[in-house]
């Protein structure tokens, strides 16, 4: 099973390098990318300074594998890459990266949105928003 987890934040340069690697795949016409970035939300008057992510890793990888297979079955995709942070990710940093490629754009757009929604709904990952003062609050997805 493919690993998706990266310790700490996902660097912008890693995303750039991931894009560059696709230039040899000349059947691709469209890339669609989603990035989740940690917001400086204010909760009960306290600003968030980072999110600490944990996961039930074995089950998460199994679920992502199922989501990946379902998307490849449903859409004519050339490739798909999914990464999620574990551990601390500071405000303004990226914790989630989904990258889908296809010959034409409709499949990439449709698949990207479905994959992002499915990962948020069905993959056992938890974020705890940590305040500048050190205490935290478990995040709830919208």
């Amino acid at each position: 099973m493919k690993n998706i987890f990266i310790q700490g934040s996902i660097a912008a340069s890693f995303i750039g390098e991931s894009i560059a690697k696709h230039q040899s795949k000349t059947d691709i016409g469209a890339h669609a990318i989603f990035l989740g970035q940690v917001r400086a939300d204010v909760i009960d008057g306290q600003p968030v300074s980072r999110i600490d992510y944990t996961a039930y890793e074995d089950m998460a990888l199994q679920k992502v594998h199922e989501i990946r297979e379902a998307a490849f079955d449903k859409y004519p995709l050339t490739c798909m890459h999914i990464y999620h942070s574990l551990g601390s990710v500071g405000v303004g940093e990226i914790s989630f990266f989904v990258f889908v490629s296809s010959a034409h754009r409709a499949a990439a757009f449709d698949a990207l949105r479905e994959i992002v929604d499915a990962i948020k709904a069905d993959v056992p990952i938890w974020g705890k928003e940590i305040f500048a003062e050190g205490q935290g609050s478990w995040k709830v997805n919208q």
Partner: protein, 76 residues
């Protein structure tokens, strides 16, 4: 016995996120036993995965299973 895992806010309630725990025949009975041991769990939302399977509703627990307590996900 079962192998019990807890995550997120549920892990904050149990003393250890990973421990051995007496076997219960199904998830409803396990939930009742857990709430007896940790009354704070009564008010916390969580589902129970048996060997990484989150069935809709209650499901049987094989002896020796890995059972995980999963509060609402917040990845992404």
């Amino acid at each position: 016995m079962i192998h019990l895992l807890a995550f997120g806010m549920i892990a904050d309630v149990l003393e250890h996120p990973e421990k051995d725990w007496p076997w219960s025949a199904d998830t409803a009975m396990l939930r009742a036993a857990l709430i007896k041991a940790y009354p704070e769990l009564r008010d916390l939302p969580f589902v129970i995965a048996v060997n990484m399977d989150v069935a809709g509703g209650e499901q049987p627990i094989p002896p020796g299973a890995t059972v995980a307590l999963l509060p609402p996900y917040s990845g992404g």
